[in-house]
Amino acid sequence: MNKKLSGALVFGLAVAVFAVLLGLRLAGDLSLAANPSSGALTLQDLFFYLFGATALAGALAVAFSRNILYSGLGLLGALVGAGSLYVLLSADFLAVTQLLVYIGGVLVLVLFAVMLTNRITEVNVSNRSLGLAGGTALLVATLLVLLFVALAGPFVTVTPPALAPTTREIGDAFLTRWLLPFELASLILLATLIGAVVIARKELKPDEPEQA
């Protein structure tokens, strides 16, 4: 009861704040003339909406699916969609890395974990840790604030250059300016590898204490 009440309060407050901010923004916009840059839908725009819809559908499946396996498959959609958006943003190397590391590595790992740890039928999302009302309030509040910043933020944009491969510049940057973080990342990966093996291995003989 208390949780529900606080959730509703946060929700109402967030909606009210957003409505006021959006109203101010719209009032400012309406005074402007029609946007001269609006034109026909280009192919690139079309692909943006396609990839964005893929990512969004996947994220929705992750968040709301009752079956954890379907959540994992939704994660596939979200990662593929985000990776495709990188291509539209002229980040080809990043897109390929996303494909290799996330979809080839992390996603397979997650799916294996799902199958190793779950009796699929046992999975339920009821009785959530923060409560449905709290979670929804959190979602709405965060989303409204982020959307407002995204749509009304005072970002000074430049005209983006034409799409071009960036692998060469990224390699240069890694081996000059970001050399130390680059090496530290490799160290972290090594530590992670060893740590994961140590944590996940089977206990040898838990009932026989090994004393030297």
Binding site: S37, S38, G39, Q44, A55, A59, V62, A63, I68, A78, L79, A82, L85, Y86, L88, L89, A91, F93, L94, T97, Q98, V101, Y102, G105, V106, V110, F112, A113, T117, N118, V125, N127, S129, G134, G135, L138, L139, T142, L143, L146, L147, A150, L151, F155, V156, T157, V158, P160, P161, T166, E169, I170, A173, A185, I188, L189, T192, A196, V197, I199
Partner: protein
């Protein structure tokens, strides 16, 4: 209206919020990890979008690559912990695992 910075920021915001919702509401530890991946991806989309439309260069992409590396490390360690948890308690319900508390 052609696709510009706000479009990508909206996608990033949606991914981030849904990830946050997943983390907050899932009891399944693997589900929580999936939510974290969504959050990191939303942030990455923002990094690359700002890199293209505001700053130029490749700084944002480099940072996004570091995020991917750390996300992979986090997923490996997190899932190893989940597996160890499952071996000891036969459950990965994050609400039931409070044996280390206090």
């Amino acid at each position: 209206m052609h696709v510009g910075l706000p479009h990508f920021l909206v996608v990033g915001a949606l991914l981030f919020s849904l990830g946050l919702y997943t983390v907050a509401t899932r009891r399944n530890a693997v589900g929580v990890l999936m939510g974290v991946e969504l959050i990191l991806n939303g942030a990455n989309v923002n990094f690359v979008a700002f890199n293209r439309f505001v700053t130029g260069g490749v700084g944002g992409q480099v940072f996004a690559l570091f995020v991917i590396v750390l996300a992979a490390a986090e997923a490996a360690v997190g899932l190893a912990i989940v597996l160890a948890l499952f071996q000891t308690s036969r459950s990965i319900d994050v609400r039931l695992v409070d044996t280390m508390r206090e």
